[in-house]
Amino acid sequence: MNPYELTIAEATKQLAAGSLSSRELTQSCLERIEAVDIKVKAFLVVNAEQALLQADEADKILACGEAKPLCGIPLSLKDLLCTKGVVTTCGSRMLENFIPPYDATVVEKLKGQGAVLLGKVAMDEFAMGSTSESCAFRVPENPWKLGFVSGGSSGGSAASVAALECPASLGSDTGGSIRQPASLCGIVGMKPTYGLVSRYGLVAFASSLDQIGPLTRDVTDCALMMNAISGYDAKDSTSVRQETPDFTASIIEGVQGMRVGVPREYFGEGLDPEVKAVVTHGIEVLRDAGAEIVEVSLPRTDYCVAVYYLIATAEASSNLARYDGVSYGFRDQEVHSLMEMYKETRSHGFGAEVKRRILIGTYALSAGYYDAYYKKASQVRTLILNDFNRAFEQCDVLISPVVPTPAWKIGEKADNPLAMYLSDVLTISANLAGIPGISVPGGFSRDGLPIGIQLQGAHFREDSLFKVAYNLERGLKLLPQRPGIT
């Protein structure tokens, strides 16, 4: 087995035993990237030299026997995580040459563990999108079927992990941007409870919805990553001041007595029958493992997309106002006045989807429309939260599809923004409510495209989530996953 095929857990064992060095592991990943990334197109920048230096440092620490869990493990980072001294583009021309003078807190934590940062991966521009097609530089392709989308906005993260270029990646999820690409690429992807992982250094899209999370090959690795990145950060006012548990403690067998809720609204029309079949099978697997299956209702599911596309766009319109060409980022230099500078900079620096969302958001907050749009959406958001709270009185976790369909061809849905937005319906509500969600590989379509299964849990109940996810993964017996790409 090539080192690049190892999971974090497997690699850690070998690194600790000394039968594998971080340099060998990193080299293996870099070679894999060189071999396949020309087809997968996940990476925007590969920091080979720096990565090998980090690997050598890690090897020194490993030799002393004081290594932290992620020591020497190579990872990719979605390009909206600020990395000091390394260009951070957010997939946009606006930040094509932006070099942050500081590291995001999660990046600091990874460096603190001795992890190896291979490079930055492609994403939808400013995290707005479900296919990564709006990336200004390159569009990552699904390693299971080239020419098909890898999902978005963390498409590069998912593709890099699915293509075995690295064992794990950090992405971000505002309306499903980790879970959806994970599902489309056949890997694990998790959005933690809001506030569990510091947002300091995460370039903001929608502040009350954004969360950083891991994309990995299996549930165990996901728990390991969560241990490394979670925890209170004084630099993030929305960070929760709570002790974070050892998430790997939940990677244990046995779901007897656990109640798994099936929200009926998630299985409506528009759901691809193959997707439905995969999820149904997953439910059976859990039932056989001893879980109690209950039917629940999330009555306001139908309104989630509307709420999301008012709140997220409103927050985004404000968060992206800083891209004005004054003190960083792109500036259109052929201008004769300040107003021209603003307008030309922002019109040339941003792509169409970003502009569209800024317009919607600006409108939703504008005088005369605030109450009808933004305020109304914020109120319905409370109702949606209430739905979840009520559901979690009847069950420990919810099970559902992640995306209504398997991956589609690149370019297929480009012209219909609303249709694209509607495909987020199954993942969006978790962000609105702030609850955690995880996508686990569930099976494949006839065409060989991955289909994921989503589990959602109550606030700060990642323990239940991990337990059920682990047992589902065991029961499905799908691992290891190897797309045929070479």
Partner: protein, 94 residues
């Protein structure tokens, strides 16, 4: 019609975006479709319902009044598209 071309132009100006005639056409149609869709929220009665701003009810996230290191000036200016070593330079504000 949920939104007219004129309104889109006004909003674009507020957001400091410049739309070509073509973009204005497309955006107006798309925004109209989207705004018509989100109007479904009117189906719900939200009288007396709290607006949700934060995902949970934390409060009082404070820091002490202590001075910490600032960035070195060259680092603060480093990403500036137009700067003179001291300040960022912009077209004159009238």
């Amino acid at each position: 019609m949920k939104i007219t071309k004129e309104e889109v132009e006004k909003v674009a100006h507020l957001a400091r975006l410049h739309l070509s005639a073509e973009e204005l056409e497309t955006m107006t149609t798309q925004l109209d479709t989207i705004l018509s869709y989100v109007a479904k929220l009117d189906e719900l009665d939200t009288t007396g319902v709290q607006a949700m701003t934060h995902a949970f009810s934390e409060s009082n996230a404070f820091r002490e009044d202590k001075v910490t290191d600032s960035l070195a000036r060259e680092d603060a200016l480093a990403n500036g598209p137009c700067q003179n070593g001291e300040a960022f330079v912009v077209p004159r504000v009238i």
